[in-house]
């Protein structure tokens, strides 16, 4: 597969598969509640419908309000495109750095929070402040977890990390176990899933993400929703491909690509199911508990780092 095609595939994969994953999670939850649930393609239909509607802009809004959806969408999609999906041979390998990834996500989040405050409604400000609280605690944890991986692979480049993992002999690494758990916790918080935030409703006073985009409509809302779905997919791909890189394609042969695509689809389906099940089992926690939750994530990441240093390097 040539490079241009691969770039296109990366973007299309994230843009197109994101609503599907979100739909899948919804469906799993619906089945667990003994409902039929919406069809899997409902996500696309909703985005299509919103795209066609008029975008209302409040009188008090500044230009930031209008730019924000585009920035959020673009930065999220760009961040996603740096992730290795099928194999370590990545067109954007030179910029596929973990710190770039975190930075791009932070940019999107920054504009999201600005947009929430821009209109000047009570809910928007509330949502923004909560989002910032969560992300300020989540970011150290995610960086720490990712550093654990990069210490093992001796690189902060995602492509090299994946390459390293694919080519090293299978080993039980305690540090990876902790990093995985930490990333799971952080991912749940960052993508606004239960128990940190409830994506299904904007009727709760404790909402975070929904509160920030409460004023949006039409294509703006569509972009915001889409960006959120891409973010979910991004975290899912990050988790499965870094920790379970099985089936990934190192060479880039057509069969290899096909196998890799099947493998990643299967892994994402499993992650989606697991997410649906946990969301059905857990209740949303109080906002005041979120810092403790994220502390736990940070601690796990730190333990991962420590066990890497103590147990894995220490035996030299």
């Amino acid at each position: 597969m040539n490079t241009g095609l691969l770039v296109l595939f990366q973007f299309l994969f994230f843009a197109l598969a994101a609503p599907l994953l979100a739909g899948w999670v919804k469906r799993v939850k619906a089945r667990l509640q003994n409902r039929r649930g919406t069809p899997l393609l409902q996500g696309y239909r909703e985005l299509w419908k919103l795209m066609g509607k008029q975008a209302l802009v409040p009188d008090t809004a500044s230009p930031v309000y209008r730019i924000a959806p585009y920035v959020v969408f673009a930065s999220t999609l760009l961040a996603a495109a740096t992730l290795p999906v099928l194999g370590p041979r990545l067109p954007l390998a030179s910029m596929a750095d973990i710190i770039v990834l975190v930075g791009l996500l932070a940019l999107g989040r920054f504009f999201l929070a600005l947009a929430g405050m821009d209109v000047g409604t009570a809910f928007g400000g509330l949502g923004s402040s909560r989002e910032m609280l969560i992300s300020s605690l989540a970011e150290p944890a995610i960086l720490m977890a990712v550093f654990t991986l990069t210490l093992t692979a001796h690189s902060t480049n995602l492509a090299s990390v994946t390459d390293f993992l694919l080519h090293s002999a299978p080993a039980l690494r305690p540090s990876f176990l902790f990093a995985l758990m930490a990333l799971l916790l952080v991912g749940i918080a960052e993508t606004g899933r239960i128990p940190v935030d409830n994506p299904a409703t904007h009727l709760e006073l404790t909402m975070v993400h929904e509160a920030m985009i409460l004023e949006y409509s039409g294509r703006h809302l569509a972009l915001m929703e889409w960006a959120a779905q891409i973010k979910l997919l991004l975290y899912a791909v990050l988790l499965v491909n870094l920790f379970f890189p099985w089936g990934m394609d190192a060479q880039g042969t057509p069969t290899g690509t096909l196998v890799a695509l099947t493998a990643v689809t299967f892994k994402l389906a499993v992650v989606g199911t697991a997410l649906g099940v946990t969301e059905s089992v857990l209740a949303k926690m109080r906002l005041f508990k979120v810092p403790l939750y994220l502390d736990m994530a940070f601690l796990l990441a730190l333990l991962g780092l420590l066990s890497h240093v103590i147990l894995e390097v220490g035996s030299r």
């Binding site: 080993a171 039980l172 502390d295 333990l303 420590l306 103590i310 147990l311 894995e312």
Partner: protein, 227 residues
């Protein structure tokens, strides 16, 4: 020698040891008493699993006995006794608000670093790879002490005490393939007696101060009130 050079059993020992450390942190962060007891039971189970793995990988049959002993004592009997006592003194719905949760956890991480620093000089010895677990077991010991200091509930203090024992046992098993059997039996006997005594004390303390709050054990101090 890196992790990869080790056989898979020893890698599994590392993973389990890391999980033991994690349970210690869970104990530090846990607010519900009953969940704490369950976490403690899991810790005991993990230590027993490590012991069994060591017995298997190093072909030391006497370690199976210690594994069984640990499982029976630390993962089943003592948690069961604690559970029963907690229900008896009606604390099974007790939750505790932590004074400084984040600071405690970070302090715990600091203790892990400290233990690593203490053990660092030993690292350079040409010895079995599992010696790294000395740092982990020392951390579990120190975290148990931190738990005892940080909590005001005497049941939590007991859990901290017992998890210290878990850490010691982990160290003994992984560094030296367990102590001589006589000593191990003696230690197990002491732990058992200690557990029973703790039970007696719960009742005595409750009888005397009508609470199991360690803060209220403050009658004896150097500043004696003028009676």
């Amino acid at each position: 020698m890196t992790l990869l050079a080790l056989p898979l059993q020893e890698q599994a020992v590392f993973v389990l040891a890391a999980m033991v450390l994690f349970t210690s942190f869970l104990l530090l962060a846990q607010t519900r008493l009953v969940t704490s007891i369950h976490t403690f039971a899991w810790q005991g189970g993990l230590v027993a699993a490590i012991t069994a793995l060591m017995a298997w990988s190093s072909d030391a049959p006497h370690l199976y006995l210690s594994a069984a002993l640990t499982l029976g004592l630390k993962a089943l009997l003592i948690p069961w006794m604690l559970h029963r006592l907690v229900r008896r003194v009606e604390l099974d719905r007790h939750t505790e608000s932590l004074a400084w949760p984040a600071a405690t956890l970070l302090g715990g991480a600091g203790l892990v670093l400290f233990s690593y620093w203490v053990v660092l000089p030993i690292e350079h010895l040409e010895l079995a790879a599992t010696r790294n677990i000395v740092a982990i077991s020392l951390s579990v010991v120190l975290l148990g002490m931190l738990l005892m200091v940080a909590r005001r509930q005497i049941v939590q203090e007991v859990i901290g005490f017992m998890s210290i024992e878990n850490g010691l046992f982990l160290g003994a098993v992984t560094t030296a393939h367990g102590m001589p059997l006589v000593v191990e039996l003696g230690v197990a006997f002491d732990v058992l007696v200690a557990a029973i005594l703790f039970g007696v004390f719960f009742l005595q303390i409750r009888e005397s101060i009508e609470s199991l709050d360690a803060d209220r054990l403050d009658r004896l101090s150097e500043r004696e009130p003028e009676a």
